[in-house]
Symmetry: C2
Subunit: 466 residues, 2 copies
């Protein structure tokens, strides 16, 4: 049994750690969950964090860790059960050190992703994790959810860009594992266990992050492809030519372009006729190569192979930003239109084209709707979102919504895919995990959870259904 | 209490799973540990593996997993305690599937690293993990020890090249997590937990491995540098120019070259005067670049910056192989000379130059000896090996050997380094881990071990001292 984070419990906490429970601590971006008002603690350092967690462990008080609050699966709020202590990392915003010669950056959990990126840039390097919410999302949350974004294809997800962590375990003990090593085989990989655990196994308070070299040459292009299948062949062609220099490969659908027309009519689009499928390609190349020329050669080879029919290569940084703006505005257009249901799925690359065809046919047989399928094709990660037919509203689909999502997830899982590619499980998909997850894996996960957090104080209801 | 794998216990195992206990199952390459003779089981598939583990769990019989047996820390033998069941993966040698369009390969645990590399090459890709022992080392062992090797700088260690695993947990349950996904955020990262766990948390029976594109252009050079510090500056210069195209960056010492002269006098060396420090650089570059020219430009820029004084660029595949042979023969030369003590350490890159200076001074103050320091400089991973002075033998150092190693490890750890960069903990370094490991991390590791393997049957004595 857990106990509420009430005023009596507040007296057990270090002085000066509490903040007012403002409504912003109880919200999440999609408005599907509303958190309860317990206490809000914002520790100044790792020792204070440990003191808070020790108090919660002793008192059996639930802890909801909170970073920038941008997560999309409700992991940052606790709507049910006793009132929790919300642990905000907002005061731990130091970049503790930068080692340019090691390409390593030590950042505290409350540093925003944008600040970490800026610090790396100031050191002549890059922190290559990039997401739409990077101005608000914090390093602690980005790691706890193993965030992805647009450059995973080249640089990996958050897990791949972290060498070490400092963390407070559910017992209140501090794990000092803030290593700056590329190789360290000394026991279990607790770093990768806490990364992606969504705050259920402890609190990441700081991390050593890998900075990557800024490619000497870079370029951006948009190419029209016939189909997702052609897009995948183009990806394969590009990767064979670029020796790992493809830094982003994003799929955009004609539906997405038409949503942009509707919601953002002033946004200029490069192709007047709104093709069915586009890809946005970004490359980062060695000195001595001209990126525009490399992209042009790729276009010519792609056209020769019958994969691409039209294309545009950015001739300036501004044009590159304009092409990226098309990709990045699509989620905003989606929000303006109002989705029936959104899915963040991944599939084995060879399954993607067929999935898009089959899922579309299956869904359209059940009702009139619009599908905007887009995302990080190079990672096999699709944002597969359903929208009302023109002239109809989201509420017209209330009765079938849940079942549609179930069918999409079922189709994804049966093809060896994942029902949560990059957003995580949170509360939103805890039941999905219980249903679709491998039984032995779930048993092992629960055993680890019980071993590290025997009272179950850390983010209850997240990953495991309450 | 554990029970021996005796003839009575043998009757509980699936028929046809046992093999004779030949001496080769009881050995490890350095001859420091000699395993006990219990039973040897070699299952044909994952179900049979699970049946064996279930029997061991029920009977409380210790299991020593065995791959190719090439590990250097004694993880593959059990010298003390009751006679164990040795679980050999030698019969699980299928490459279950190859997906060239996904760049994924599904290999069973008993597939040798070389076979996996050959299969990838036949599909027009590469499996980019490369080690001296790859002809014998098996995928299961390579993953269980999170092996490294010469291309970690570009492609990561074994962990980074695995998308999913199938494993038998200590309960005998099969975890089906053989995913072929680049992104999958659905709960705890048990894959990375079992990878590197050295067989103490379960048996990896198969893995989905990432194949990388073969770079369109590649080249190899050897350059003479003044010092390790100059080598690191050259690395930084190379990475800034090559956009991640540096696939290997190996440090070689003059001592290593002189050992080659002594042990392999017929091996041709490119520099007549045996310079104090060399680096071997390998690059993999996009189409449109000439790798030799890129290496030549790097040499010129390096010379301008005062970092390199001489160099040779391979003009053919044979010349490239000859340069690599120098690097790869050094461990054999070391063996021929006979080390007093070997260390597989890693350091933050900015600490390496100073460590080499300080450790050398510290050791030479304590006795006359020769130091061969070489290794994967790009990863901060040094093989730091001590040898008798000329005319003296290994046994002359018996009294100080242990203390010398302790001092080396102490110096490494105090600089934020690791006492086991790529070889793992095994039995050899279990006491070191207990001594140098972070206390909170060790407690969490033990809690996880107890949760998943409550009777402690999986590879007892490895990672945790018996």
């Amino acid at each position: 049994m857990l106990n509420p984070a009430d005023q009596r419990f507040a007296r057990k906490l270090p002085s000066g750690v509490l903040r007012d429970v403002s409504p912003s601590y109880l919200e999440e971006p999609r408005g599907r969950f509303h958190g309860q008002a317990g206490l809000v603690a914002a520790p100044h350092d790792v020792d204070e964090t440990a003191a808070v967690i020790r108090a919660c462990a002793q008192g059996g008080v639930p802890v909801v860790p909170r970073g920038g609050g941008t997560g999309l699966v409700g992991g940052q709020v606790m709507p049910d059960g006793v009132a929790p202590l919300i642990l905000s990392m907002e005061r731990m915003t130091a970049i503790r050190a930068i080692y340019p010669e090691e390409s390593v950056l030590l950042a505290e959990a409350g540093v925003t992703l944008q600040s970490a990126r800026d610090a790396a840039a100031a050191a002549g390097r890059q922190f290559a994790l990039s997401l739409a919410s990077q101005g608000t999302a914090q390093i602690g949350g980005v790691l706890s959810t193993n965030a992805g974004g647009v450059n995973v294809l080249r640089y990996g997800n958050a897990r791949a860009q972290c060498l070490g962590i400092e963390a407070v375990l559910p017992s209140g003990q501090i794990m000092h594992d803030l290593k700056r090593l590329r190789k360290d085989n000394t026991g279990y990989d607790l770093r990768d266990l806490l990364i992606g655990a969504e705050g259920t196994l402890g609190i990441i308070t700081a991390a050593s992050l890998v900075m990557a070299p800024v490619p000497a040459e870079s370029g951006v292009a948009m190419m029209v492809v016939d189909s997702p299948s052609a897009a995948l062949s183009l990806l394969s062609l590009a990767q064979g030519r670029m020796a790992g220099g493809v830094t982003a490969f994003e799929l955009i659908s004609g539906q997405g372009l038409r949503f942009l027309d509707q919601a953002f009519p002033k946004l200029q689009q490069p192709f007047a006729d709104r093709p069915d499928w586009l890809v946005l390609i970004e490359v980062g190349l060695p000195a001595g190569l001209n990126a525009d020329q490399a992209l042009e050669t790729l276009f010519v080879k792609g056209a020769d192979a019958g994969l691409v029919s039209d294309g545009v290569i950015a001739q300036s940084g501004q044009q590159a930003a304009d092409l990226w703006a098309i990709r990045e505005t699509i989620p905003l257009a989606n929000r303006a239109i109002g989705a029936i249901a959104s899915h963040d799925v991944s599939l084995p690359l060879s399954q993607i084209a067929e999935f898009i065809t089959d899922a579309g046919a299956m869904l359209l047989a059940q009702g009139d709707m619009r599908i905007n399928c887009f995302g990080h094709l190079g990672d096999g990660n699709l944002h597969y979102n359903l929208f009302p037919a023109e002239g109809r509203g989201r509420e017209d689909y209330d009765e079938i919504r849940k079942d549609l999502s179930r069918q999409v997830h079922q189709m994804v899982v049966s093809r060896g895919g994942s029902f949560s590619a990059e957003h995580g499980v949170g509360r939103l998909k805890a039941a999905d995990l219980a249903e679709w997850g491998d039984p032995a894996r779930l048993i092992a996960m629960r055993a680890i959870k019980s071993a590290l957090d025997p009272r179950g104080i850390m983010n209850p209801g997240v990953i495991f259904p309450a």
